[in-house]
């Protein structure tokens, strides 16, 4: 097992932990944190893959940078939306109404 494999598997593990959090935690901030853990996992996997050849591959780094920018903006927007939802409804979770059960 090489260092690349170690980092890659850690990335996959982080993705799974994050996914588990998104699906099981009702609190919106916990969902968003879990999402960020999952995306960190994917980014870690990509960075690990960059060390495949003799020299580091620059492309995954460019991709991860783009991904981080997207992830930061999406998180910022989602936190803002969660705050607005809290102001409008007093809720910090996504309530499931009977008619949504489909």
């Amino acid at each position: 097992m090489t260092v690349m494999h170690l980092f890659g598997l850690t990335g996959v593990a982080l993705f799974c932990i994050g996914l588990f959090g998104v699906m099981t935690k009702p609190h919106l901030l916990k969902k968003l944190l879990s999402l960020n853990i999952a995306s960190a996992g994917v980014f870690l996997l990509m960075v690990a893959l960059a060390s495949r050849g003799d020299r580091p591959d620059p492309v995954p780094h460019a991709l991860v940078l783009t991904g981080i920018v997207i992830s930061v903006s999406a998180t910022a927007y989602a936190v803002g939306l969660a705050a607005r939802l809290h102001r409008a409804t007093g809720m910090v979770t996504l309530e499931v109404k009977p008619e949504d059960d489909a």
Binding site: G8, F15, G18, L19, V22, L28, K31, L35, A38, S39, V42, L45, M46, L49, R52, D57, P58, V59, P60, A62, L63, T66, G67, I70, S73, A74, Y77, A78, L81, A82, R84, L85, A88, T89, L94, E95, E99, D100, A102
Partner: protein, 499 residues
């Protein structure tokens, strides 16, 4: 002039520049700007198609920076058909929105934010349809997803905020699944570009894993059963022009990427099982979506569930396409044409239905189905639009939906796949069932008090899109002629014979 040779640039640049301008200008010159955008997009789409017919499929390397660090656009028949669709629906929705927002300060505030977000969404949808590499799709999906959520939550009502938030979380998780697949593919092959990937790809276990996670992400974006649960609350609580673009175009972007990957990237050995799986989910979506549409008591919720059902038909194209992939490609090309036509037909009809629903809700002040009684006499244009769009959705000739469903149905019948055929026929009957729940109430002669005259421009926009859904049904050859350019031979040979 360089713009004349590269009309496709404006597909993305036009709406994005206009978005920045409306943000800066506010309400000043809005009508002029919207008019200019529509004209520019029409010209750009027409120019792209003329260039495509003249030169065949081509690449556009943005800024001269080549892949992998630069961005390459690919223009062929499939992307051109999607551009035609975004242009027509984009124009319809823009015209409609000029009359949609009221004069109260709350409505004015909403409108100020609506225009930049909608134009950004338009541009990023076009970017999805033009991109030709798997990482760019991730970026453009995120762009369109964020713009879409912001548009849903525009009204600031609790239902809209909850629906939007749920959609946002699903969209972000779906994008991560997709990105995980992109990472795995890049790790294995070192290529992001679609053309290069299709040559390099091998049917390994890793490709299988990448295919699975990317498919999960994309069917969540495309709201295929059982990952459709976010769609009805998100689409039905958005402002009506936003519901229209969500149901007509945004869900199609996930489908478009899935289709591209199936026909160009995944090894043929692996697509067969994938296609069967997608077909089974599509069939379940038709039955379940139609069933729930029949049960709804609110107009926009009913239309949203109808989207779940109609998307099911689109996904039936996958198993039908693989029937004759190696033996009789007539089936494949029939199913391909039917599936793409279903995308076009549903987009036009559903956009028109949501726009018309917006007019009715404006007139009555509620979207309760019972409240629609008697509106048929007062808003004949809107009811006509709903009827024409319904003809296409139910699959009655001469609607565009008839042609789409006929192609899919005949493929299933001739190749003796009776279960697909039965599901399509049952789904058609159920569509009649849920749409007539709307018509029956609209056409009863009861007067129900409150009525606000909606702006005429909204009625004409809805009617225009409904008319187009009929026009594409009356004459299907122009679109199929464009669709065939640059697509693999298995997908188009049937239409070579017809033209």
């Amino acid at each position: 002039m360089w713009t004349g040779q590269q009309p496709e640039v404006w597909q993305v640049a036009g709406p994005m520049i206009a978005a920045a301008m409306t943000f800066a200008l506010g309400s000043r010159g809005r009508k002029t700007l919207v008019g200019v955008v529509i004209a520019l997009m029409g010209w750009s789409t027409l120019g792209t198609i003329v260039k495509l017919i003249g030169e065949g499929p081509y690449l556009h390397v943005i800024g001269g920076w080549v892949a992998p660090l630069g961005i390459t656009w690919r223009i062929d028949g499939l992307s051109a058909v999607m551009l035609v669709l975004t242009t027509l629906i984009g124009a319809g929705i823009s015209v409609y929105s000029l009359g949609y927002f009221g004069t109260s300060s709350r409505e004015q505030h909403n409108e100020t934010y609506f225009w930049p977000l909608w134009l950004f969404l338009w541009g990023s949808l076009n970017a999805v349809f033009l991109s030709g590499d798997i990482f760019n799709w991730y970026v453009t999906l995120e762009l369109s997803g964020l713009a879409a959520v912001a548009l849903i939550t525009l009204s600031n009502k609790p239902d809209a905020l909850t629906g939007g938030m749920r959609y946002l979380i699903i969209a972000l998780v779906a994008s991560l699944f997709y990105l995980l697949g992109v990472a795995l593919l890049y790790g294995e092959y070192g290529i992001l570009d679609l053309g290069g990937l299709s040559k390099a790809i091998e049917p390994t276990h890793l490709t299988m894993v990448a295919m699975s996670v990317m498919t999960i992400g994309l069917i969540a974006k495309a709201a295929l059963f059982p990952l459709h649960f976010w769609l009805p609350p998100a689409h039905s609580n958005a402002p009506s022009p936003v519901s229209a673009v969500l149901s007509a175009l945004v869900v199609k972007s996930g489908f478009y990427i899935l289709l591209r990957l199936v026909i160009e990237v995944w090894p043929a050995e692996m697509t067969h099982a994938l296609a069967q799986g997608l077909g089974i989910l599509g069939g379940a979506a038709i039955l379940w979506g139609s069933f729930l549409a029949i049960k709804q008591q609110r107009l926009k919720r009913l239309i949203a569930y109808s989207t779940v059902a109609q998307l099911g038909y689109v996904f039936l194209m996958f198993p039908l396409m693989t029937i004759g992939w190696d033996t009789d490609t007539n089936w494949t090309s029939r199913a391909f044409a039917g599936g793409i036509y279903q995308v076009v037909a549903h987009a036009l009809a559903k956009a028109s239905l949501f726009l018309a629903a917006g007019v009715l809700i404006h007139a009555r002040g509620s979207d309760d189905l019972e409240g629609l009684r008697g509106l048929g006499e007062k808003l004949p244009l809107t009811v006509t639009a709903m009827a024409l769009a319904g003809i296409s959705l139910m699959g009655i000739p001469p609607g565009a939906g008839f042609f789409a469903k006929w192609m899919l149905l005949t493929t299933a019948i001739y190749s003796q796949h009776w279960s697909w055929a039965a599901i399509m026929l049952i789904g058609g009957l159920m569509a009649v069932g849920y749409l007539f729940r709307i018509y029956r109430r609209l056409l009863t002669h009861v007067d129900h008090g409150t009525f606000h005259q909606p702006s005429r421009i909204m009625e004409f926009a809805a009617l225009g899109l409904a008319g187009l859904s009929l026009l594409f049904g009356l004459s299907s050859m122009p679109l199929l002629y464009v669709l065939r350019i640059g697509m693999p031979e298995q997908l188009t040979n049937y239409f070579w014979g017809m033209m």
